[in-house]
């Protein structure tokens, strides 16, 4: 089912949560709504679900205007951050709930068979008789997904689905959700504030800030061509240097930096830690090492450059570098944004 948002607006009291968002989600895609808290991503998801009504604009499911269809008739599967499993029902009863209350009558054996099928899909065979309090967080979230899928939703919506889980379970569930999505081919929209999760999982990433879409595209597009300093900063560790553009070339102090510059004047240069190379001596930006942090696959160097700006970059684990050492930095890639 293709979903289209057309100039959707939502205001809570005086807070403008969503300020005119238009978005197309192709059928069968897995799309991430990514943004800091307060960016309106959850509100957008809840409006698509029908748990919140839009103050303005339209939401289309296929060709149908779904803006005013109440949630119970909208045919969406919704997975909540804190699972929202019914605590007084067993896992099996939770999964069966939607089938039991729906207008389409199903026979008992039919429901039981479907519950077993879904338990197999989410790899929880044999846990159907447990209560939610008796299973782990990761298992609960899988039950919540099975429950949402039981009613054959046209669209699957997930609100920070892995937010309450610890890092390892989170990574496993992420891969697993991708597999399930590829198996079922259901249009899926999920909300996250974790860029790694969005980039890992989604076909397309929609980055939001203050109720507006800042950029959308495939993970490769948003990573390689961030269209603003905000996106650059939000997607991962970024170093910022103040620069001056003169004659189409950017200068930090007196050192020229390889970057596409358009107009002359002050600008900001953004660099990923991997865009910087360290040499004890030679050409480049003069820097002095403040601290070295050891990580499993590399060493992270914290340094200051002339003018006092702080930079972080990574060097291979065998590199011999110490606090207080002076050296030179070569910049391999940089992105320039007008200040």
């Amino acid at each position: 089912m293709k979903i289209r948002l057309d100039q959707v607006v939502k205001t809570f009291d005086t807070f403008r949560a969503v300020r005119g968002v238009s978005l197309d989600i192709e059928s069968g895609q897995l799309v991430a709504l990514l943004g800091p808290s307060g960016s309106g991503k959850t509100t957008i998801l809840r409006m698509v679900a029908g748990l919140e009504y839009a103050d303005g604009g339209h939401i289309y499911f296929g060709d149908q205007d779904a803006t005013d269809i109440p949630v119970r008739d909208r045919g969406v599967g919704f997975v909540f951050q804190h699972y929202a499993l019914f605590p007084h029902m067993t896992v099996g009863e939770n999964i069966a709930f939607g089938m039991k209350v729906s207008k389409t009558r199903r026979s008992k054996p039919e429901i039981a068979a479907r519950v077993q099928e879904l338990l197999r899909l989410v790899r929880l065979e044999g846990l159907g008789d447990r209560f939610p309090a008796q299973i782990s967080g990761g298992q609960r979230q899988r039950v919540a997904l099975a429950r949402a899928l039981a009613v054959d939703p046209k669209v699957l919506l997930l609100d920070e689905p892995f937010g309450a889980l610890d890092a390892n379970v989170r990574r496993d569930l992420r891969r697993w959700l991708r597999e399930i999505h590829d198996e079922l081919g259901i249009t899926t929209l999920f909300v996250t504030h974790d860029q790694e999760e969005a980039l890992d999982l989604a076909d397309r990433v929609v980055i939001l800030d203050q109720g507006r879409i800042v950029q959308e595209g495939t993970p490769a597009e948003v990573c390689r061509e961030p269209n603003s300093a905000f996106v650059m900063r939000f997607l991962g560790d970024a170093n910022r240097l103040s620069a001056n553009v003169r004659g189409g070339q950017a200068f930090v102090g007196e050192t020229a930096i390889e970057a596409e510059a358009s107009s002359d004047g002050p600008a900001e240069i953004y660099l990923r830690p991997g865009d910087i190379e360290w040499q004890p001596a030679g050409e480049g930006l003069a820097a002095s090492v403040v601290r070295v942090l050891d990580r499993p696959g590399s060493r992270r160097v914290l340094a200051t450059v002339e003018g006092g700006a702080a930079l972080e970059f990574d060097v291979p684990p065998e590199t011999d570098v110490r606090a207080g050492q002076e050296g030179r930095l070569t910049i391999k890639r940089a992105r320039l944004y007008p200040a």
Binding site: R72, F86, P87, A144, R147
Partner: protein, 273 residues
């Protein structure tokens, strides 16, 4: 040795147990002891006398009706107080506790004045042929009044803690409002409702002050069991008073045991295995 987190546990445990023994168990034991000093046949004759049986009937029936009434309105009141924001909500919330705080005799006198045939309510009901004061209906009204806070106050916190996402999840799965209330909200409120129910019923069984003013206290008709025990006491017939009181005690005890059992059943999903 395993160290306790709280200091002075043996001391505080000792004091608590001593206190419970002194002010709860001892008087009850004395009551049972007194009643037991009667022979079985004497005891049976007293507790099964027609006047006593009539008092059980009117007390238990009125308490059942009052509790059923409070179940519906107490739940509705708790619902409104938790779910809606309206001017005066805090005042209503405070008024709910009034029956707790008010001396029950005051409540009894106020209700009698209102429901007497020349009172504000009574004069309106009289043309319809409904008499409240000096009838079992009056007993029910008094019981309703004094036991209303129990259901409201037990259900309210549970309702407040109910995760709104549960209802949203049920909605997204296609549940109607009715289904959601019956299958999701009500089962989750059940333990609290049962607790409120048993407290409300026990309070109604034992209520004295509010009822004797409005009931008329006609033997065989509007005489409650607690009053009968009191009358025997006035007659210096301590054994008979104790025997009748022991029936109330046993009823309340059985009722609490039954609701505790039901509550445990309703809460079995919270057990981790």
């Amino acid at each position: 040795m395993k160290r306790n987190v709280l200091p002075g546990l043996p001391l505080s445990l000792g004091i608590t147990l001593f206190y419970v023994g002194l002010i709860v168990v001892l008087p009850l034991a004395a009551l049972v002891f007194k009643a037991a000093s009667l022979g079985p046949s004497e005891y049976w004759a007293i507790v099964s006398s027609p006047r006593a049986v009539a008092s059980y009937r009117v007390t238990v029936l009125s308490a059942l009706v009052a509790t059923a009434f409070n179940l519906v309105f107490g739940l509705a009141l708790a619902w409104v107080l938790v779910r809606y924001r309206f001017p005066g909500r805090r005042i209503v919330d405070a008024i709910v506790d009034l029956p707790f705080a008010l001396p029950t005799a005051v409540a009894g006198i106020a209700l009698t004045t209102l429901f007497a045939s020349n009172g504000w309510f009574g004069s309106l009901l009289a043309p319809l042929g409904i008499k409240v004061a000096y009838t079992p209906l009056g007993i029910m009204v008094a019981m309703c009044f004094t036991s209303l806070p129990f259901i409201v106050r037990t259900v309210q916190p549970v309702l407040e803690d109910l995760d709104p996402a549960l209802e949203e999840a049920a909605q997204s799965l296609g549940g109607s409002d009715r289904t959601i209330f019956l299958r999701v909200i009500l089962p989750l409120l059940m333990p609290a409702l049962l607790a409120g129910l048993s407290l409300s019923f026990a309070r109604s069984l034992g209520e004295f002050g509010a009822i004797i003013f409005i009931a008329g206290n006609q033997p065989m008709e509007t005489e409650i069991t607690a009053l009968l025990a009191f009358i025997r006491l006035e007659e210096y017939d301590y054994q008979a008073a104790a025997a009748i009181a022991s029936v109330l005690l046993i009823t309340a005890f059985l009722m609490l045991a039954a609701t505790n059992l039901l509550q445990a059943r309703a809460l079995r999903y919270t057990a981790r295995s």
